[in-house]
C-alpha cells in the first residue's frame, strides 16, 4: 500500500510540474490571464509531494518491504537502520528519485526567496525548473521506477553492497546530488534571461547566490567522496581520475569559474557571455555526469550496474538542455553589450584568463575521460587514459591558476596601476615563505614540489599582504578562507603524492617491522562478529621510534571482513591520522596458519587535503551567510 501511495505522490509531482510550467507559459502568452502567480503554490506542491514520495520509500526500507524490487535488491533485514535509509539513494532508481527531490527542493527555495515580488521573470525561472522536474519524473517513472513490485516476494533482501555500508554512503551522495542539481537554478536563471526581450533583471546577482550554494554542496560532496574512497578502498589513494570521479569534477571546475565570472558580471557587467555559457554548461555537465555513471558507457569501479537503455533517455535530455539554451544564446548574441575593459591590468582580464584556464582544464579532463571510448568507437583499439595523463595536464594549469589568484588580490576592477615597488615586496616575501615551506615540508628537491610550493607561497603572501589587511580581511574572510583552502589542499595533494612510502610484509603474532620512524608490532589475531559480517582482526601496536622512549604508542586494528549474504570479502584498513601523515595499514591475504600479508603505508600530509576542503566549504558557507545578512538588512532598509 505504502509504495503505491509513494508512486502516486511521484506522479502527482509530475502534474504539479506540468502545471507549474504551463501556467507561467500561458500567462506570458496571454497577458490577461493572471495565472502566473499560481506558479508559486504549484512549485510548493511539487516539492511537498516528492518529499512525501521519497520519505515513504525510506519508510518502506525500514519496514523491510521486500515486495518492492528496489528494496529487495539493496537491503536486508539485518542491515543497520541508517544504512536502510541511505540505501534509498544507494541504487540507480532511488538516486534518480533523489534527483527529482533535489530539483523540486531547489525550485522550492527559489520560489520562497522570491515570494514577496512575484515577477514574471521569476515565473519563467520556475517554468524552466518545473520542466526539468517533469522531465526527470517522466524519466524515473518510465525507465527507473523505484516502486516496482517483485513477485514472488523474497523472504530476504540481497543486502546492500558491503562497500556501501559506511557513513560515507549516508552523506556523500546527497551532498553531491544537491550540488549537481543546484546548478539547475543558475541554468534556469540564464535560460530565462535569454528568453526575455531585455536583460535588465539583476540575474547575475541572484544567480551568484544560487551558484555559491550549489558549489558549496558540490565541493563538500566531492571531498567526502574522496575521503570515503580513501579510508574505504584500502590502498591509500584518494583520487583516481576514474571516469565517474572526473564526471563530478567537471561541473565543479566550470562551477568555480561560474562563481567568479558571475562576480565580474554582477559588479562590472563584464564576461556576460562567459557567465551565460558557464551557467548552461555546468548544469549540462551535471547531467552528463549522471549519464556516465549509469549508462555503463565508461568502465569504472564506481558505476551503477544498469543497462545502456536507461542512459539513452538521459542522453536525449542532455541534448535538449544543450541545444535549446545554446540556440537561444546564439539568437541573442547581438544583444550582449561587450563591457568596456579599461586596461589589461584589471581584474576583469584576470577573471577572463581564469575562466579560460578552467575551460581548458575542463575540456582536457573531458577529452581524457572520453578518449578511450572514442578510440574504441572508431575501432582504433583499446587504450586507457589514467592518472599520468591527467596529472601532466592538471598540475601546470593549477600552477597558472594559483598565480592568477595571487595577482587578483592587488589588481583591482577597472584600471590598476602596476606598482613595481609593491610587486617587488610581494616577490621578495614570496621567496622567503617559499624557502620556509621548502625547508619544513620538502624532503628532496623535486621540481614539481618546488614549483607548487612557489605558487602557493606567492598566493599566501599576496593574500595576506593586501592593503589594509584587517579591514579587507573581515570584508573578504570568506574569499580568503576558500582560497587558502585550495592552497592547503594543493600542498597536501602534492606532498602526499611525492613523499608517501610503504612496505609489504608477512607478519604474525609476535613479529615486528619498521618503516622509517614507525615500528609496527603484531600482537595477536582476533576474531570479530559484526552485525552482518565476521572478521579476522590484527591487533597491532605502533610506536614512533624517533621520539623518546616514554612516548605512548597506539593501537590499530585492520580487519578482513566476510559478508555471508553477498559472499564478499572486504579489507577494512586501519588508519592513524597525524598532522603530517597518516599511518595506513591493510590486512591482506592469509599466507599460512598464523601469518598474514600486511601492507603498511605512510601517507604524507593526508589531513591537509581534507583540511583544505573544509576551509573551502567554510568559505562558501561564510560567503552565503554574508549575502544573507546583506540581503536581510537591505530588505529592512527598503521597508523603512
Amino acid at each position: 500500500m505504502i509504495p503505491e501511495i509513494a508512486l502516486f505522490s511521484l506522479i502527482l509531482t509530475g502534474f504539479f510540474a506540468l502545471l507549474g510550467a504551463l501556467f507561467p507559459l500561458l500567462a506570458t502568452l496571454n497577458r490577461s490571464l493572471h495565472i502566473g502567480q499560481y506558479t508559486w503554490p504549484l512549485t510548493y506542491g511539487g516539492a511537498l509531494s516528492v518529499t512525501l514520495s521519497i520519505c515513504l520509500l525510506a519508510l518502506s526500507f525500514t519496514l523491510n518491504d521486500f515486495s518492492v524490487l528496489y528494496i529487495a535488491q539493496h537491503s536486508n533485514s539485518q542491515l543497520p537502520i541508517f544504512f536502510k535509509i541511505a540505501a534509498v539513494w544507494g541504487g540507480h532508481e532511488g538516486s534518480l528519485l533523489f534527483w527529482v527531490f533535489s530539483l523540486a527542493l531547489w525550485a522550492f527555495c527559489i520560489a520562497i526567496i522570491n515570494r514577496k515580488e512575484k515577477t514574471q521573470f521569476i515565473s519563467h525561472v520556475l517554468l524552466i525548473m518545473n520542466l526539468l522536474i517533469l522531465a526527470f519524473v517522466l524519466l524515473t517513472l518510465f525507465s527507473s521506477n523505484p516502486f516496482e513490485r517483485l513477485f514472488p516476494i523474497p523472504i530476504e533482501g540481497r543486502d546492500l553492497n558491503p562497500m556501501l555500508q559506511d557513513i560515507g554512503l549516508i552523506i556523500h551522495p546527497p551532498l553531491l546530488y544537491l550540488g549537481y542539481v543546484g546548478f539547475s537554478g543558475v541554468f534556469a536563471f540564464a535560460v530565462a534571461t535569454l528568453c526575455q526581450p531585455e536583460t535588465n533583471f539583476p540575474w547575475a546577482k541572484q544567480s551568484r547566490g544560487w551558484a555559491l550554494l550549489a558549489w558549496t554542496f558540490l565541493t563538500a560532496g566531492i571531498a567526502l567522496g574522496a575521503w570515503w574512497a580513501y579510508y574505504e578502498l584500502g590502498w591509500g589513494g584518494w583520487w583516481f581520475w576514474d571516469p565517474v570521479e572526473n564526471a563530478s569534477l567537471l561541473p565543479w571546475l566550470t562551477g568555480t569559474a561560474l562563481l567568479h565570472s558571475l562576480m565580474a558580471t554582477e559588479k562590472r557587467q563584464a564576461l556576460l557571455k562567459w557567465s551565460m555559457l558557464l551557467a548552461i554548461f555546468t548544469f549540462c555537465l551535471s547531467i552528463l555526469g549522471t549519464f556516465v555513471v549509469r549508462s555503463g558507457i565508461l568502465t569504472s569501479v564506481h558505476a551503477f550496474a544498469v543497462d545502456p537503455t536507461k542512459g539513452i533517455l538521459l542522453l536525449l535530455l542532455l541534448a535538449l538542455c544543450l541545444i535549446i539554451p545554446l540556440t537561444l544564446f546564439l539568437n541573442n548574441f547581438g544583444r550582449f553589450k561587450v563591457a568596456k575593459i579599461d586596461s589589461i591590468y584589471s581584474r576583469e582580464v584576470l577573471f577572463l584568463i581564469a575562466n579560460s584556464l578552467f575551460a581548458i582544464t575542463t575540456l582536457t579532463v573531458l577529452l581524457g575521460t572520453f578518449y578511450p571510448m572514442i578510440f574504441d568507437a572508431f575501432n582504433l583499439g583499446k587504450i586507457s587514459v589514467g592518472a599520468p595523463y591527467f596529472n601532466t595536464i592538471f598540475v601546470p594549469l593549477t600552477l597558472l591558476v594559483f598565480f592568477l589568484m595571487g595577482a587578483a588580490t592587488f589588481i583591482k576592477w577597472g584600471k590598476s596601476e602596476l606598482n613595481i615597488k609593491y610587486l617587488m615586496i610581494v616577490l621578495g616575501l614570496t621567496l622567503l615563505v617559499f624557502s620556509l615551506l621548502l625547508t619544513l615540508l620538502a624532503e628532496d628537491l623535486n621540481p614539481i614540489v618546488i614549483l607548487v610550493l612557489m605558487a602557493v607561497s606567492w598566493l599566501l603572501v599576496a593574500l595576506f599582504l593586501q592593503r589594509q589587511l584587517f579591514k579587507y580581511f573581515f570584508k573578504n574572510i570568506a574569499m580568503m578562507m576558500a582560497h587558502i583552502g585550495i592552497a592547503v589542499t594543493a600542498i597536501g595533494a602534492l606532498l602526499n603524492a611525492h613523499y608517501s612510502s610503504e612496505i609489504s610484509t608477512k607478519m604474525g603474532p609476535g613479529s615486528q617491522v619498521t618503516l622509517g620512524e614507525i615500528r609496527v608490532y603484531y600482537r595477536e589475531t582476533q576474531w570479530i562478529i559484526g552485525p552482518n559480517y565476521t572478521a579476522e582482526q590484527a591487533l597491532l601496536f605502533i610506536k614512533d621510534i624517533s621520539k623518546d622512549k616514554n612516548n605512548q604508542g597506539y593501537q590499530l586494528t585492520p580487519q578482513r571482513r566476510h559478508y555471508p549474504v553477498r559472499v564478499m570479502n572486504m579489507s577494512e584498513p586501519a588508519i592513524k591520522s597525524l598532522w603530517n601523515k597518516d599511518i595506513y595499514i591493510t590486512l591482506g591475504e592469509k599466507l599460512d596458519a598464523t601469518d598474514y600479508a600486511l601492507r603498511i603505508q605512510k601517507r604524507a600530509f593526508t589531513n591537509w587535503i581534507w583540511a583544505g576542503a573544509i576551509l573551502m566549504v567554510l568559505g562558501g558557507i561564510l560567503a552565503l551567510y554574508k549575502r544573507l545578512l546583506i540581503n536581510t538588512s537591505r530588505r529592512r532598509d527598503k521597508a523603512l
Binding site: 562497500m163 586507457s384 592518472a387 600479508a597
Partner: protein, 155 residues
Amino acid sequence: MKNIFMLLILFIHIFLLNFACAKESSNTPLNAIFSPANSEQIKQVETFVFKNISEQTRAINLSRELRCPQCLNQNLMESNSPIAKDLRLIVYQMVDQGKSNNEIIEFMTQRFGDFVLYNPPFNQRTYLLWLGPLLLILLFVIAGIIAVRKSISKD
C-alpha cells in the same frame, strides 16, 4: 555430502549474482575465492623484498601506471585480482633483474595491448589526446587577446 551441499549453495549464490549484477565492484572478485592455485605467487608479491628503496619506488610507481587487464579500472597496486597480483609480481621481478621501465612496458603491451597503459603512448592515434590541450591553450590565448584588444580600443 555436507561439503557438496555447501558448494551448491555458494554456486547458486554466484549464479544469481552473475545474473543480477554485472558491474559490481568488490575487493575480492568472486572468482578469486575459487581460484586456489596461486597462493605461492601471492606470498611472493606481498612479501617481495627489493634490493633498495629506489628500486621499490620505481616498481611501485610503474605498477601504478599499469592497468589490471581484468578489472573495472584499477591499477596493479590497487587490484586484488589474481591476474593483477601475477602481473605485479612480474613487474617486481623485472625491476629486480634490472630491466628498464620501457622493457617492462613492452612486455605488458605485447601481451595485453596498449590497454594496460594508464600513460597512453604518444603516436599517430593519440596526437589529439596529447596535443589537444596545447591547441586549446593556443586557441584561448588568441581569442582572449582579440577580445581584450577590441574591448580596450572601443571608445
